[in-house]
Amino acid sequence: MRGIYRGRNVTEPVRKRPVHIVAGMGTTATHCAYCALQCAMTLTADAVGRVTVGPRDFPTNRGGLCQKGWTAAELLSSPHRLTTPLLRVDRSASFREASWDEALDVVAARLTATQRDHGRDTVAVLGGGGLTNEKAYQLGKFARVALRTKNIDYNGRYCMSSAAAASNRAFGIDRGLPFPLPDLAETGAVLLAGGNVAETMPPFVRHLAAVVDRGGALIVADPRHTATAERATLHLPVLPGTDLALALGLLHIAVADGHADRAYIHDRTTGFDAAWRAAAQWWPERVERVTGVSVQAQRATVAQLAAGARGRGAVVLTARGAEQQSKGTDTVSALINLTLALGLPGKPSSGFGCITGQGNGQGGREHGQKADQLPGYRRIDDPAARAHVAAVWGVDPDDLPGPGPSAYELIERLGTDGGPRALLVHGTNLAVSSPRGRFVADRLAALDLLVVSDVVLSETAALADVVLPVTQWAEEDGTMTNLEGRVIRRRRAVAPPPGVRTELSVLAALAERLGRGDRFSDDPETVYDELRRASAGGVADYAGIGWDRIDAEGGVFWPCPSVAHPGTPRLFADGFPTPDGRARFVAVEHRPPAEDVDAEHPVYLTTGRILQQYQSGAQTRRIAALAAEPHVEIHPDLALRSGLADGDLVRVVSRRGDAVGRVRLTTTIRPDTVFMPFHWGGEQAVNRVTNPALDPVSRMPEFKVCAVRLERVVA
């Protein structure tokens, strides 16, 4: 890393600095830095500024933490921490340290010149699902009001977009879970399609374990016998890319075996006939042939869900395995159809839920950093929505840009004729997280200006012209919306190192230089209160959720349209927020993966996470206690045929690129499939291999299946 980071003064490892304790806040109740479970924790700063983490009891984590949470504070005093803006004249030069004024002046001047010479849309913004609600909101507003560009999207496009699209078209609303997480523990049966929570968010497993402990069913569909599948009562070893066929087959069985709740379908839904007609073509024996999941296991799955529906409840959950496919939206729709046929949504401890990934994956998609959205989950092409938000922002609705392209499509256009020539990056490490990574690096290199705000010199920051050092989780105030749709407080426990600014202050300072300084506060609560007004009346309505209420109540569930409103922990009991109040079946058809195996690339690749690392690894790779090396899970049979032994280095090669990892032999994976986690950069980045084939609705890339060959790396 320091090879790239070779400016004056910055090649030296930075000395550990004492952390500045905020007066009177030696102990702070906040939530974890990482995933959407947002485990409650207590941060204690001692006299010399060392911060220790302790778990805190909360309905979601029930006092649990994983390794990532326990060690989260180590990054506060990491020698890798950026503490001064970095600047360089061109990409071949080294970074040099710069003052904030100089860095911001350069950025503002170059943005202004770019827009003046080439048009407003030639400046683009990419945000992230880890940003607080305040930052996500402000970033969207900054793009639309200060830059007036349509080109803004965020990394949730790679994360939640398929589930979000499917939930919206079925329920008219997209909230990860329709109920508080403890309701899950009360249910009778859970089907988890493509998720490995035992590694991604371990304390979540407590709720699943409670289901099993009381004799309930936990069914996990995954090409791998993961740590989560290990805890299941039934594992469905689905062939990568065929989850949709499986879902259609389950609906088929539910209807054909008489488990459909006809009264519910009649009273509370529309579109059943067409959905059934599609599923009717997926009888279980056909599904077995396509998915590899036995007819018996399919029937058992439906029987157990149906038994749950008649008893304590039943829940179908999806995560990235089912969603990160070029047909992820349809796959989720098919699973929602299953829950509707069984009459689940709106009943106690029942329904469909999506397990959100990023820390603020939920709030981050609600407040306007999506290409097609304004705050409150409003559509940017809806005149009424534009008028409302424009009024809050004090601008003319006609001056708001229209919808822009999705994240990957935006990246594809960077530096092309007519495409964006400057890019601002906040809260994402797209050089590691985007599919077809080498191409993405080329696109970034083609930009005139790349500005990255980050805590450390991520792989993306290392490619930038300007790097702005910003605060991290324990150094800032704000709100996050967790996987339940519960709005919670992130609290500042320590002062940031000198030289580090919050992203709100960066945006305010840039806005000022762009002539819009009066519209952008750098105070998080002020920004949040504006967010409340902007979201008022929208689907994701935060109007009644003040910080004071969150502090007093330990979190509030949206929608919450007024301060007198109690919030909405449970959705759909009385109807669905659709025009007719009914949930909608969506008829979908199975189709094969965008890229199938062939003689040249005979093995399926699927990707995912490991326990020790989070997302692109920019944070967790810099924590010694979480040290891990990328590995490639291979079945011994496939290893034998490929001439690979445990511990060998193997190159995973697709039509788009290659990545190197260490062979880990395991019988927990199908012999036709290899798995590689995606937390590393450079030659270890599996996203150099993955396929950018996009879902036609959500624009989600197909991370979860592509065709590869394996080559042993000879030392």
């Binding site: 006092g63 933490l65 390794q67 326990w70 007609r277 009888w283």
Partner: protein
């Protein structure tokens, strides 16, 4: 505009129309479908579910009539074609109408074969009122309409369709006998032992299969006005209903009369085109490709997709289908594929078997050149999906062949108390048994406080407790 005329509106024909339109967003094909049956397209695979009562007839419709209107496809049901005029490129319907084409797609399917047994048909050649075939939704409706009067049924033919019909009837509380001429049911798919196990399983479900048996006469006069079937060996079986399931014959007479080459069915090449006339194509059960006539849905749909691609100018070619036969009968889990009746000790072949007839299990996998080339999976459902996919994809068989029959034996969960010091007990926090032992803690909570074990998913709590308990027993003096 290219006029594509599809004759036949069954599984193959309806699928083809959908496949073609998917590839034809510009609507350059003018599509007309003639169906002899009066029904909308329905899913023949689900007829056994209708017979068994789990689905209503209306629920097996595959393509709604609105689709045809929306996709600008002219669908005419209840229309039968009498002749093909190849010279003028048009067909003549029995109503005397001419329908022109540029491409004619024959998807006429097949019809049941009724053996020449006295009493099955009347003098007019029509089926007796108490004799049914099980082929169309109409057949199914007719059978359903009379079931309330049926106490005893006999199914002639113990092939796939006969057994599915028999199981459906038995599921409705009807006593069912299957009369089958061979020494085992489904003799084309099963070996002798598998047949014996299957017959036994069926018996437990109320279906009695008589092997090596043939019927000679269906007559009245069984006392009380009942009717029955007399077998070759003199046995008399009461039968209020006889279901004929003795196989099918492809409907290729139309093609033969038009001078197209036909064997058992219309002979086509790899583009699903008649070898005689490049403007005429055949798919499904009325097509013969490379000597094969397929009687299952999967090949018909593969052929429909190939032909749609070919007509759209695509490169697809049909290379035959790997056939997996799956009996759809509640309470029986049977899949058969490829070669199954082979000599276990023949050169170049590996045969795996596991049989537990008392529990209805018979599994056999045939391997050549490290590939699964055939299998019978009866009553052992766990690995069917894996075996089928290996067969379908000609993928290498597992090095440990046992995995084909026995589902993966879960890693034995050894007693945590005996775990070596370097074994991870708490995955979430990476805590080994050694660290827990070294923590010197007495309770799980103390272990959590010092090592963080149990604080993640909580799944290792019992293991930690076991470690603590084992240590305390060692320390307690005798």
């Amino acid at each position: 505009m290219t006029r594509v005329l599809v004759v036949g509106h069954g599984m193959a024909g309806a699928r083809f129309v959908q496949e073609l339109r998917t590839r034809d967003p510009g609507r350059r094909f003018e599509l007309t479908v003639l169906g002899a049956e009066p029904e909308a397209a329905y899913n023949r695979v689900l007829l056994s579910s209708v017979l068994a009562g789990s689905l209503a007839p209306a629920e097996i419709e595959t393509v709604p009539s609105a689709w045809y209107a929306a996709e600008d496809v002219e669908l005419r049901t209840g229309v039968t074609v009498a002749a093909i005029d190849r010279r003028r490129r048009r067909v003549l319907t029995t109503a005397g109408e001419h329908v022109p084409y540029d491409h004619l797609v024959l998807a006429t399917g097949s019809r049941p074969w009724v053996p020449p047994i006295e009493g099955l048909t009347g003098d007019d050649g029509e089926l007796d009122r108490d004799v049914a075939v099980f082929r169309t939704l109409g057949d199914c409706r007719a059978m359903l309409a009379r079931l309330h009067r049926v106490r005893h049924a006999v199914v002639l033919g113990g092939g796939l369709l006969g057994l599915e019909a028999a199981r459906g009837l038995a599921g409705r509380g009807i006593a069912v006998e299957v009369v089958h001429p061979a020494d085992r049911p489904m003799e084309r798919q099963l070996d002798l032992d598998a047949g014996r196990v299957l017959a036994r399983t069926l018996r437990s479900l109320g279906v009695h299969v008589r092997l090596n048996a043939g019927a000679v006469r269906f007559t009245d006069g069984w006392g009380g006005g009942g009717r029955g079937l007399r077998l070759e060996d003199g046995t008399r079986l009461p039968a209020d209903l006889v279901v004929v399931a003795c196989g099918v014959r492809p409907n290729s007479a139309l093609a033969a009369a038009a001078g197209l080459e036909t064997g058992r069915a219309v002979v086509v090449d790899d583009t699903m085109t008649s070898v005689t006339d490049p403007a005429i194509h055949a798919i499904g059960e009325c097509a013969q490709h490379d000597g094969q006539v397929y009687g299952l849905v999967a090949p018909a749909w593969e052929q429909a997709a190939v032909l749609a691609d070919v007509l759209s100018g695509g490169p697809a070619r049909y290379g035959g289908s790997a056939v997996v036969t799956r009996l759809k009968a509640a309470g029986v889990d049977l899949a058969a594929m490829g070669e199954t009746d082979v000599d276990d000790f023949a050169d170049g072949v590996e045969v795996l078997r596991f049989a537990d007839p008392a529990r209805g299990t018979y599994q056999k996998v045939v391997i050549r050149d490290d590939r699964v080339t055939g299998a019978i999976m009866l009553g052992g459902p766990e690995t069917v999906g894996a075996v089928t996919q290996l067969f379908d994809r000609a993928a290498p068989a597992p090095a440990d062949r046992r995995a084909l029959i026995f589902p993966g034996v879960a890693a034995s969960s050894a007693d945590a108390a005996d775990a070596p010091d370097d074994q991870t007990i708490c995955r979430c926090n990476g805590v080994t048994a050694g660290r827990i032992r070294a923590a010197g803690a007495g309770t799980v909570a103390e272990v959590a406080a010092t090592t963080r074990a149990t604080t993640g998913c909580g799944g290792c709590r019992a293991d930690v407790a076991a470690l603590l308990a084992s240590r305390s027993t060692v320390e307690v003096p005798a």
